[in-house]
């Protein structure tokens, strides 16, 4: 296991992230802070965080095909494996990271009381799952390919197929929620939520390529999604030089 340094977390680079105020994503207009955020070097409050052990997980938590419906019933739709590696910005694996995922079913419908899309619910699909990274930072779960769905924003906006990810690393400073998209989806570049990220390369890193190597023949295709979290510097001194 790679030794994690004890210095503070490197400052977050804004260009890697969406802008807070992005008027084409209408809800951001009244929910985006206007003042500059307060900067200070990370402290024990940000360098620690909740740690979740494998005992948290049930046997089907990483199998969205089967973790909701009746015994022996599988979710409806194209079956996929999603896998990848969680690392920090310096390339060290993030071991024991908890990934929580949620998504629409294959028809683009969420199991949620506020969801109004006419596509039907799948009785065998709940839409949530979770997994913890192993000693090399890798993870894997099974699900269905989520469908695109329309949403009330502009007159005719459709979300590209996507899976939401919530990620806990080792420190609260690493807390991240993001979305994974699928290679080749023409809706990605039309989406105002994606468009809130101004850097094209940062968007491309959210697009998981098809990974035929990991495909399960006659069962499921595979997509690879690697995740990078913030990393800790070697010494407190180095961090303070950066942070102050």
């Amino acid at each position: 296991m790679t030794e994690i340094p004890k210095g503070g977390y490197a400052a977050r680079l804004p260009q890697n992230h969406p802008v807070a105020l992005y008027p084409p994503y209408r809800t951001s207009v009244k929910r985006s802070p206007q003042a500059a955020p307060l900067s200070f070097p990370t402290t024990i409050s940000e360098e620690t965080g909740p740690v979740f052990g494998h005992d948290l997980l049930g046997p089907k938590d990483a199998d969205l095909l089967h973790n909701f419906g009746p015994q022996d019933q599988s979710a409806i739709g194209p079956r996929i494996v999603v896998h990848g590696r969680v690392q920090d910005q310096f390339g060290r694996p993030v071991v024991g990271a908890l990934l929580e995922v949620w998504q629409a079913n294959a028809g683009g419908r969420y199991r949620h009381k506020k969801e109004g899309y006419l596509a039907p619910l799948d009785p065998n699909f709940g839409g949530c799952g979770r997994v913890i990274t192993g000693p090399d930072g890798s993870y894997e779960f099974r699900t269905v390919l989520p469908g695109p769905y329309p949403w009330p924003n502009g007159p005719n906006d459709w979300r590209p197929s996507h899976i939401h990810f919530s990620i806990f690393g080792a420190g609260f400073a690493q807390r991240l929620i993001t979305q994974m998209y699928f290679e080749g989806d023409p809706l990605i570049w039309r989406c105002p939520i994606v468009g809130s990220i101004q850097d094209k390369a940062a968007v491309e890193r959210l697009i998981a390529p098809l990974d035929m190597e990991r495909t399960l023949p006659m069962d499921a295709r595979a997509y690879r999604f690697d995740i990078t979290l913030r990393g800790r510097r070697q010494t407190m001194f180095e961090n303070r030089m950066e942070g102050l």
Binding site: A11, L13, N16, H17, P18, V19, Y22, Y25, S28, V29, K30, R31, S32, P33, A35, P37, L38, S39, F40, T43, I44, S45, E46, T48, G49, P50, V51, F52, L56, D88, W102, Y110, R111, H112, K113, K114, E115, G126, C128, R130, H164, S166, R175, L176, I177, T178, Q179, I193, V194, S196, I197, D199, A201, R205, L206, I227, T228, L229, M236, R240
Partner: protein, 196 residues
């Protein structure tokens, strides 16, 4: 020396509860309990408190689809995972805001002072992280306690450029161990958010 860029954030969207608090969202049978539902897990040391509040948008309307997470030290100022930390206190809470009035609530312990990297201490505080539809990058802030004498020497509060805004980080006592911490995403009372 950044070798790999951090993965971009994306909004948690309107259905964050499906993934993070599925039982709250009505999806039962997948997880026995929602993560972060209880911060006090046993006979925890310290003063029991309740931290409540609402999150308001730029029109003054409470967010009813947000999720807020709390991470804090125990009564002795130690975080879970640190040596000697209270085994009956997780330090981590997660709360889906109420679907009607947008309120959040944490049943917790009054945290102790915690260390500051270059020596000294930080006043008692609860670290908070807020996500919702329309928030593109999760927002970090802290709830300090308005009645805590340690606030005067807190190094973070001391860094605030416009001191008039410092009060946005103070949870106000409402009696019987209840503290209110309202969060304003925009407007004259905009909460101070952190870039940490």
């Amino acid at each position: 020396m950044t070798d790999h860029p951090e993965t971009a954030s994306q909004t948690a969207g309107p259905y964050v509860h499906i993934g993070c608090t599925p039982n709250f969202a009505g999806i039962h049978g997948v997880y026995p309990e929602d993560l972060g539902a209880r911060m006090i897990t046993g006979d925890a040391t310290g003063e029991r408190i309740t931290l409540i509040g609402q999150i308001f948008d730029g029109t003054g309307t409470p967010l009813r689809d947000a999720m807020i997470e709390a991470w804090q030290a125990d009564a002795n100022g130690l975080y879970a995972g640190q040596e000697g930390a209270d085994p009956h206190f997780s330090g981590f809470g997660r709360c889906p805001c109420d679907a009607e009035d947008g309120s959040f609530r944490f049943e917790t312990i009054k945290p102790g002072t915690v260390a500051w990297p270059s020596g000294g201490t930080q006043a008692p505080h609860v670290n908070l992280w807020i996500v919702a539809r329309g928030i593109n990058l999760g927002l970090h802030t802290r709830a300090y306690f308005a009645d805590a004498p340690q606030n005067d020497s807190d190094p973070v509060l001391g860094r605030i450029e416009h001191s008039v805004r410092a009060k946005t980080l103070l949870a106000q006592a409402e009696g019987s161990g209840v503290y209110r911490f309202d969060i304003h995403l925009q407007g004259p009372d905009e909460t101070i958010f952190f870039d940490v």
